[in-house]
């Protein structure tokens, strides 16, 4: 596994020098973000957010559970961030790295702790049954600014999600299927958005939406969680640059502007998706792939010719093969000599290529002779028991049958060798 991503010193220096000259390597302005796309999956609560090359997929799911004793009327929300090994060779499956924990905490602070989801609306029966939400955030491609991309993805999926309708009659709780009742959206108070800034030049210069190379070259990062109402939900500073009060205020101002844009964008995308769903248009990633991607290829439903059933003929063919197989086998050589080289050492024939298979089938003819030899050879051995089992009735009986029965022949040959190749002196 790759331990960490290493960037060359000259590359880092180049990025730092460019930022000093108010330039960025991908041609953006310092406070310009990359292009953002939000696409919705076919199932409810499934959102793919791309920010430049960074790509995050999130899916919301819900299940009924017992509420916590301290909050008997509140549902719960769990955010699970998966840094999939798909996103970067550094990430390992099933193991949470420092970055993963940091990202999980940022999202928890931004979404759960900012109370953007009305948890009391998730209560079914106080103290007994509540909905617990789970947001699975899969990072699919890492090119910097995971926090912003993941937060947009997670919040959009919460907005997109619908939970099943429930009716409570006394102690009975009935969960209705999608067909019976239209599922209901979650009640959300606001749309918190994370905005990332990378700090350069002792915090004097700041760039928005850094790429991974820029993040690695930067002195620190600031993630600000705000909503369009100019409320700060979360603030996270990593790296080792001390910041002035004025700088922090400036970040918040920039972040609020960005949050307004992102919120609008999420809302229009959600509306667009609702329209498509209500007018029964195609929705989902497959449709997105078919219509919006230039380099994607699609083929329309393909008719496939169904070959006529060939069952009977096939069977005959297969039996034919078997017959051929048995026929093909060369007739056993008659002059197979068993040579005794010394105590417990014997050979069949005089060297050359392996004759095992030929010998295998030659038993039929040689059985009587070999058995006789067998007894002779092992006479001076002490393992008499085995010789007896080998030589006597079994073989003779089988040899009589084997004249006509192929299968019996195979069984015989296998038994003969497996028990004691070379007369038990092995």
């Amino acid at each position: 596994m790759v331990k960490e991503v290493i960037t060359a010193k000259c590359e880092q220096d180049f990025i730092i020098e460019s930022v000093k000259a108010d330039k960025r390597i991908d041609g953006r302005e310092l406070n310009e973000s990359r292009v953002m796309h939000i696409t919705f999956g076919k199932t409810r609560g499934c959102v793919l957010c791309t920010l430049g090359n960074t790509r995050v997929l999130s899916q919301v799911s819900c299940e009924m559970s017992m509420p916590k004793a301290a909050h008997p009327t509140e549902g719960s929300i769990h955010i699970n961030v998966e840094l999939s090994p798909m996103a970067s060779p550094v990430f390992e499956a099933g193991r949470s790295s420092d970055l993963g924990i940091e990202l999980t905490r940022v999202l928890e602070k931004c979404i759960r702790d900012s109370h953007c989801v009305d948890l009391e609306a998730l209560c079914i029966v106080a103290g007994e049954k509540v909905w617990s939400l789970r947001v699975d955030v899969h990072v699919m491609n890492h090119d910097g600014n995971l926090a912003e991309c993941a937060a947009i993805s997670a919040v959009s999926s919460l907005h997109h999600f619908r939970r099943p309708e429930v009716t409570v009659a006394g102690a009975d709780v009935t969960v209705h299927s999608v067909e019976e009742h239209d599922p209901i959206p979650l009640s959300l108070h606001h749309i918190p958005v994370c905005v990332t800034f990378a700090l350069f030049n002792s915090g004097q210069q700041v760039i928005a939406d850094p790429t991974e190379a820029e993040e690695l070259a930067s002195e620190g990062r600031v993630v600000v969680g705000v909503n369009a109402h100019q409320e700060i939900c979360m603030m996270h500073i990593s790296g080792c640059t001390p910041l002035q009060k004025e700088q922090v205020q400036r970040f918040v101002e920039l972040a609020v502007n960005r949050a307004k844009y992102v919120t609008e964008s999420i809302k229009t995308n959600l509306q667009h998706d609702e329209q498509n769903r209500s007018s029964k248009n195609l929705v989902g990633f497959a449709k997105d792939l078919q219509t919006d991607k230039i380099l994607a290829v699609q083929i329309r439903p393909q008719r496939v010719f169904v070959p006529p059933p060939q069952v009977s003929t096939e069977e005959t063919v297969s039996t034919d093969k078997e017959v051929e197989m048995t026929d093909e086998i060369s007739p056993p050589e008659k002059e197979v000599k068993v040579l005794l080289y010394g105590p417990k050492t014997a050979g069949i024939g005089e060297g050359g290529a392996s004759q095992w298979e030929t010998v295998d089938l030659s038993i039929e003819d040689n059985i009587t002779t070999s058995v006789e030899k067998n007894i002779d050879l092992s006479y001076d051995d002490e393992s008499e028991e085995e010789v007896v089992t080998l030589g006597a009735e079994d073989l003779q009986i089988e040899s009589r049958e084997s004249d006509k029965n192929d299968k019996a022949k195979q069984r015989l040959s296998r038994g003969w060798y497996a028990k004691d190749a070379f007369f038990g002196g092995w």
């Binding site: 798909m86 990633f285 380099l295 290829v297 439903p301 059933p309």
Partner: protein
């Protein structure tokens, strides 16, 4: 989209669409949609191998399957295994001893035939990564309905209602079966019928692979 022809003369597979190299980080990646089943896959390789996974004579072929919700459990591990066995048969792993080839699959939408879509997506990602393979693999899915009819490339609903469900993977040279994965009970005749239908449908998938690669390199070719 599916023809439910009573004479079973023709069957059809759902719309196939795919994009190669859609992720920037991996060495090879592909997103494949079969109808509404969408799977994203990515390949890193040959890369450095973890010491405990190192094999002296061949590359270690590692597969990670990520379900859309929750943590991977037993069915996911089984699916990983099937995909791994299918593709390791075609990959020339001996070319990269003491290395690792990592394949990651992410389920994005499931509407039936998920395993087949995974195998196709994985094969395209390996192809995109430029790893040497003996042949390509195309996987197809078919079910036997409760009425006993064969249905090629069913949706999730049809799959759940079916009596038996088959997934076959074929290689591209002689179109022989590499993998056969079945669920439910069925007769030998039904099995053979499904196999033949899937085999003839696999040709379409191989044609589709060709078209995808052509489109992927269309800019380079034009130049």
């Amino acid at each position: 989209m599916l023809s439910d022809n009573k004479e079973n003369e023709t069957q059809s597979i759902r719309t196939l669409s795919a994009e190669l190299s859609n992720l920037s980080r991996p060495d090879g990646s592909a997103i494949v949609a079969q109808g509404d089943t969408v799977v994203q896959s990515a390949v890193y390789g040959p890369v450095e191998v973890r010491p405990n996974k190192e094999l002296p004579d061949k590359a270690y072929f590692d597969i990670v399957y990520k379900p859309l919700t929750g943590l991977p459990g037993c069915p996911e591990k089984l699916r990983e295994r099937v995909i791994r066995n299918t593709l390791e048969a075609t990959l020339l792993v001996n070319l990269h001893p003491r290395k690792s080839i990592n394949l990651i699959l992410q389920e994005m939408q499931n509407d039936g035939g998920l395993l087949a879509c995974c195998i196709n997506s994985a094969c395209m990602a390996l192809m995109d990564a430029g790893l040497a393979m003996k042949c390509l693999v195309a996987a197809l899915n078919a079910v036997i309905t409760t009425e006993g009819d064969v249905l090629l490339d069913p949706s999730l609903k049809q799959e759940e209602e079916a009596k038996a469900c088959f997934t076959f993977a074929f290689e591209s040279i002689n179109h022989e079966v590499i993998t056969s994965n079945t669920q439910g009970s069925y007769s030998e005749t039904e099995f053979k019928k499904c196999l033949e239908i899937c085999r003839s449908a696999s040709m379409k998938v191989f044609d589709f692979y060709r078209e995808c690669v052509q489109r992927r390199f269309s800019k380079e070719i034009d130049r």
